[in-house]
């Protein structure tokens, strides 16, 4: 764990952060940032997930002198006033109501845009109350919470495990890439691979599953490099004993370094073709040994992963189809004229070193 940040990027990130924290953060409105139901991939079937993004104090890494991550603008979703335990429980209850019509199987995903196990964000009292509510619901088969690895301890996981009983419990960690250099120099993530590995081994010891979030195309990486990086990271995740990988194609968040680069014409979110290639590569190499998920945000817009504009909607459907079915065949019959352009782009980037934002 790198407490004092020595990344070259940190200064710039902190500068952007400072400028925007007061500008973008709003007052607390006694409800979650967002919650919704979605069709989702379970361990071996398709079901429904309730996704809740709790409004908390915000990610400690983003608030710290380390500056936070270069692509993440979720910190601006956290309210100016800090919600207490009671308020967090109320938020969860409010979202939970939305799941009432859902039949089995149900999965619940709790995000805080930070760490569920950071007690500054979610105090022990709130955590236990929420878990106890979930275990009461017999429909729930899976629970997924998100956290940075430094908050994962034997103690906390054992406690959770005890409360949750039969429910499949998975902790999702934003590894982003298995390459320490990229994570340190381009993302400014603030932890190293060995921190992640430590967290995985604690999880294994306590019977908890791990999902690694992998960022497709961190800033400063060229398209071809990003494809290679994500593929390698997925394989590394598998080798480390991770149960699921979730690819997150980078989107341009407001008030981030990535947005700064994007405005200068120095960053283009990944092509959908690149995502297809990564999913094909990884599912071929990992061959259904782990769950491979691709969660798309902002697809088709200039600030999100996109192709030419004509094929984006169609390809998004196919990518979602892959996540649900885990069948790589659904990706094989995608075609569009812009595929050639993407191939050119991957090559020309090496020669020209210059990106077009289109």
């Amino acid at each position: 764990m790198i407490e004092v940040n020595d990344s070259e990027l940190a200064d710039k990130i902190i500068e952007i952060r400072r400028k925007n924290l007061n500008k973008f953060r709003k007052d607390f409105k006694e409800k979650p940032v967002k919650y919704w139901l979605e069709k989702d991939r379970f361990l071996n079937k398709i079901g429904t997930s309730l996704v809740v993004i709790l409004a908390t104090r915000g990610c400690n890494w983003a608030l710290s002198s380390g500056g936070g991550c270069s692509m993440c603008g979720y910190i601006y979703d956290s309210p100016v006033t800090i919600p207490d335990s009671e308020s967090l429980i109320n938020q969860f209850d409010l979202a939970y109501k939305a799941s009432i019509p859902v039949r089995v199987p149900l999965a619940i995903k709790i995000f805080t845009s930070g760490s569920f196990f950071d007690e500054r964000e979610v105090p022990k009292l709130a955590r236990e109350a929420i878990l106890k509510r979930i275990v009461m619901d017999k429909r729930v088969e899976e629970l997924i919470v998100e956290t940075r690895p430094e908050y994962i301890t034997h103690e906390i996981l054992r406690e959770c495990r005890e409360i949750l009983g039969e429910i499949h419990f998975e902790i999702a960690i934003g590894l982003e890439t298995s390459n320490d250099n990229i994570r340190h120099n381009y993302i400014n993530k603030g932890f190293e691979l060995k921190d992640f590995e430590r967290a995985v081994s604690i999880a294994k010891n306590t019977g908890v599953s791990v999902k690694s979030y992998l960022l497709i195309k961190p800033p400063f990486l060229r398209e071809r490099e990003a494809i290679i990086d994500s593929t390698i990271s997925a394989i590394d995740s598998f080798k480390m004993g991770v149960n699921s990988v979730s690819f997150n194609p980078c989107t341009v968040h407001k008030g981030t370094l990535v947005e700064h680069l994007w405005k200068l014409g120095n960053y283009r979110p990944p092509w959908l073709w690149s995502i297809i290639e990564i999913l094909k590569n990884t599912s071929e190499k990992l061959n259904n040994k782990i769950r491979i998920i691709c969660s798309l945000v902002g697809t088709g817009s200039k600030k999100g992963p996109h192709n030419c504009g004509k094929c984006d909607a169609r390809i998004r459907e196919q990518l979602n189809e892959f996540t649900l079915t885990q069948n790589p065949e659904v990706l094989s019959n995608v075609e569009c004229e812009c595929k050639q352009e993407w191939l050119d782009y991957c090559e020309a980037e090496f020669i020209w070193n210059q990106i077009t934002n289109e």
Binding site: E8, L221, D229, Q340, E341, D344, E347, W352, N353, Q354
Partner: protein, 660 residues
């Protein structure tokens, strides 16, 4: 700093900093400036590696390709293992190994600095491990000029065979940054290193970049435009759908119609358009190579300046900020005419150099009491023109050689009569309308007033001028504080009325009392001074020299019946013999040969131990051996600094060698 490694590139001919050369690859030679093919593995066939740049063949068939070098130089953060990278490159056996660098997005001074540190570390590693191979290195533009400069300096000190200009995209629209970056690189690296400008560069930019010393371009733009259904044209590109007829006579435009092209499957159309685009770019380069052979590159650059304001600004900034850089590589004379069409010609290096030499190397002939200032003529040398014949008839009337004649012209400034045959005074051509713009008046008056300041106080100045000439002279008179008598011009300057006014003015004001008669020798000495420096004339042409003319009318200088020097009218220069060179022993233009005797008819750059930095291409030079004896004469093919630093290429074409 010449090491044992054999050079891979040879400069064949200069035209300013632009050059035509040969790259010696394993299986073939490529002429530069040239276009190399960006090998995209999905466009061409067999490669599993990501990008290999290949020599562009005349056809798109792969069998003609040669691996030049690899540009997928790995990102050091992802592939920190340099040994592995090197091994990977070695298995592909390209002609150049490339120092890996990855990509680079400019952010803060600190991030740029740490990026450059990695680049320089990798560069040193490659030089150390595979210094015997030919090496290419990326050199990055950075807005932090201190870091950028340090990077260029360090890389050029390590020494590479090719420099790849990176991040040009940031500055393609910014002529000032573009000029400064390219010139900075070109000035500091070894003169026989190649410069490659990769990426999306339109052929309209080629002549400008080549003139600044770039040797290689690639086909990235041609591929991109073809993919967008666009055809490259002179100043830009056009989508096929927007055209009524195909724009040229290349084999593609000849063979297809617009509607035929539109109906084609897109993949086929892509290849057709690509072929047109590549043919277009190569034809531009062929024209430029021809221009360099003929010495017309500058004219091509001036022409191309009209494609866009960016290009026009590029040339202006280059001329204004980098005269020394341009002048060093600009030939002292060339066969053919120097065209000065518009304002972009006012500061071309030959012209600027002439004005500089008049001010630095010319001293008025002593004993001159009266100077007549005349306008130039279209015919060169001026004295052969009808108008000058008439002027001289009037002036000679007062005595041969008693009155000094000087001529004013734009953009040359002031030309003393004795120098009217030197290059480029007898070799330039301008559109003569008599209308001068402010800048022309500025330039000419500066040159005239510098001349005025060299004259004795009492010298009588009589100007027989009208229009812009008169204005420039008036301004010079104000600048220098010298009084000038202007004759009255009525109608044509060379008309009878004006001439009689000139005659009257001379009768009234000319000071002939103590005037010394100026001899032919006096005049010729001034030409020698102009070519070799002040004082050279008296050394080369002593009072007992004989002046003769050969059958072609060229002036010969003989000493004890032996030829000393011959004036070549085509080049406007004296050609020296060894006999003549001996008397100019201490006047510069020397080359120190790294040996005792030269065999063959050329002196090659590796044999040059040291050379006078004032040597320019086409200068007459004197070659001394290691024991400081004059052993040969010749015409230089490079600048002095360049031949000293180059590992390859002809430095001097010998004209005469000392017989033992």
């Amino acid at each position: 700093m010449k090491n044992d490694k054999k050079g891979i590139f040879e400069v064949v001919k200069h035209d300013g900093p632009g050059r035509m050369g040969k790259i010696d690859l394993i299986d073939k030679k490529i002429l530069t400036p040239s276009l190399i093919h960006a090998h995209f593995h999905h466009i061409n066939y067999n490669s599993e590696k990501i990008v290999i740049l290949n020599v562009l063949p005349d056809s798109l068939e792969e069998k003609f390709y040669t691996n030049v070098f690899i540009t997928n130089t790995a990102n050091p953060f992802i592939y920190p293992n340099l040994n592995q990278n090197l091994e990977d490159q070695l298995t592909l056996q390209p002609n150049f190994l490339t120092v890996p660098c990855g990509s680079f997005v400019e952010l803060e001074w600190k991030t740029t600095q740490s990026f450059f540190d990695i680049l320089l570390k990798n560069a040193s590693f490659f030089k150390e491990m595979v210094g015997k191979n030919h090496l290419a290195v990326p050199v990055f533009y950075s807005k932090y000029s201190d870091l950028c400069e340090k990077q260029i300096d360090t890389l050029s000190q390590i020494g590479f065979d090719m420099y790849i200009l990176k991040n040009l995209g940031e500055i393609m629209g910014n002529p000032r940054q573009l000029v400064e970056f390219i010139v900075k690189v070109r000035e500091r690296i070894q003169p026989d290193s190649l410069v490659y400008a990769p990426g999306l560069i339109h052929p309209a930019y080629y002549s400008h970049l080549i003139y600044s010393g770039v040797d290689i371009f690639d086909t990235t733009l041609m591929i991109q435009e073809a993919r967008r259904d666009s055809l490259l044209l002179e100043g830009g590109s056009k989508k096929i759908g927007e055209l009524v007829e195909l724009p040229c006579n290349c084999q593609i435009c000849e063979a297809y119609s617009i509607s035929g092209m539109v109906k084609m499957p897109s993949k086929q159309r892509f290849y057709k358009l690509l072929q047109h685009n590549i043919l277009f770019a190569t034809s531009v380069l062929k024209r430029i190579r021809l221009d360099i052979r003929e010495g017309f590159l500058r004219e091509r650059v001036e022409l191309s300046s009209h494609y866009s304001p960016t290009l026009a600004a590029y040339l202006r900034i280059l001329d204004k900020n980098h005269f020394n850089f341009l002048e060093e590589y600009t030939q002292i004379a060339k066969k053919g005419i120097v065209y000065c069409i518009g304002p972009e010609s006012y500061h071309r290096p030959e012209i600027e150099r002439f004005r500089k030499r008049i001010s630095e190397r010319y001293t008025p002939i002593s004993g001159i009491r009266t100077v007549v200032i005349l306008p130039c003529s279209a015919k060169k040398p001026y004295s052969l023109s009808q108008s000058h014949k008439r002027f001289r008839e009037v002036i000679r009337h007062f005595g041969k050689g008693l009155i000094q004649e000087v001529i004013i012209s734009s953009p040359l400034g002031l030309i003393p009569r004795e120098l009217e045959q030197v290059y480029p005074a007898a070799h330039y051509d301008i559109p003569v309308t008599g209308d001068w713009d402010q800048e022309e008046i500025e330039i000419a008056s500066a040159s005239i007033s510098k001349y005025f300041e060299k004259l004795d106080k009492e010298t009588v100045l009589i100007a027989h001028l009208d229009g812009g000439y008169r204005e420039a002279c008036l301004k010079a008179s104000n600048l220098s504080g010298k009084e000038v008598i202007f004759t009255e011009i009525s109608g044509n300057v060379a008309g009878e009325k004006s001439l009689s006014n000139l005659k009257r003015a001379l009768e009234e004001y000319a000071d002939l009392s103590g005037a010394r008669e100026v001899s032919k020798i006096d005049s010729l000495r001034k030409v020698v001074d102009y070519q070799f420096g002040i004082g050279a004339g008296e050394k080369l042409i002593p009072n007992n020299a004989d002046i003769k003319r050969d059958r072609m009318g060229n002036v010969k200088i003989l000493l004890d019946r032996k030829l000393v020097a011959l004036f070549n009218q085509t080049y406007g220069l004296f050609k020296l013999t060894l006999r003549g060179a001996e008397s100019l022993a201490n006047f510069g233009y020397w080359i120190e040969f790294d040996g005792a005797t030269i065999s063959g008819t050329n002196l090659f750059a590796p044999g040059v131990k040291d050379a006078d930095p004032q040597i320019r291409p086409e200068d007459f030079v004197m070659i001394y051996n290691c024991s400081k004896e004059l052993i040969a004469m010749g015409i230089s093919n490079m600048s002095g600094l360049e031949m000293k630093r180059s590992k390859k290429g002809i430095a001097v074409k010998l004209t005469e060698k000392k017989m033992d």
